[in-house]
């Protein structure tokens, strides 16, 4: 059975319902796990965020990550969407959806793909604040999350 994989880098927003329907559409999936990442609002003084990426390498890296997940779990479908450009607090940034026969592999593969995406895929965030713009620093906790899959 071929695994349907869809990877998209885009400026425009996405519809989570449409993505879930696409993942479950084959009728053989028993589970779809999804992750949606947002521009954090609230306590931070971030007015907006601009996402930059390395066209070509981004798509290649995401395909490789999905391939690693498929080698590890039996998956029926994977959809990854990452937005680029200027986004406001509360806006969606990233979607990862995984269809599997059971929830176990769907949950695990979804987290695996996000942990690899955070540390391997060439995206960079720049925050706009009242005091000017700043590039977001990489977090050690993201590297730690990756390592749990590599032991």
């Amino acid at each position: 059975m071929s695994v349907e994989t869809n990877i998209a880098i885009q400026h425009e927003d996405f519809d989570v319902g449409i993505e879930v329907d696409a993942l479950s559409g084959t009728g053989v999936a028993g589970a779809v796990a999804t992750f949606v990442g947002f521009v954090r609002g609230g306590a931070d003084d971030v007015l907006a965020m601009t996402l930059e990426h390395y066209p070509g390498m981004t798509e290649r890296t995401l395909r490789d990550i999905v391939g690693l997940a498929q080698a590890r779990w039996f998956l029926l479908g994977v959809r990854v969407i990452h937005r680029v450009g200027r986004l406001l607090p509360g806006e969606r940034i990233v979607f990862v959806g995984v269809a599997g026969r059971h929830r176990g592999e769907a949950f695990a593969a979804c987290q695996f793909i996000m942990d690899y995406l955070k540390t391997q895929a060439p995206f960079w965030k720049k925050e706009e604040t009242a005091n000017g713009a700043r590039w977001v620093d990489a977090r050690d906790s993201d590297e730690a999350a990756l390592k749990q899959w590599q032991t």
Binding site: G37, L51, Y54, M57, I93, K118, P122, F123, W124, W135
Partner: protein, 83 residues
């Protein structure tokens, strides 16, 4: 031997360069020697010396020892922060 070099995010801003086509002198044949050669251009290139700066060759993550050859696309960038 000519290669394309791309710079991204904070490194691109610090250097003021997004993309360049360079002719590498003989002896420059891997990421480490390419970086040293670029650093020798002058103080403005110091941001490239930060240990956290990563490299990719032909759109795959690379190490200091990764080979750089004619026609390659090399990129330098800070740690990634997507997701």
């Amino acid at each position: 031997m000519s290669i394309t070099i791309l710079y991204f995010a904070g490194l691109r801003e610090a250097l003021g360069v997004e993309r360049e086509l360079v002719d590498m002198p003989s002896g420059v044949n891997d990421v480490a020697s390419l970086r040293s050669w670029l650093l020798a251009r002058g103080a403005a290139w110091q941001p490239l010396s930060a240990p956290r700066i990563r490299a990719a060759v032909n759109q795959s993550l690379a190490s200091d020892a990764s080979v750089v050859a004619d026609g390659d696309e090399v990129a330098f960038f800070p740690p990634v922060t997507g997701g």
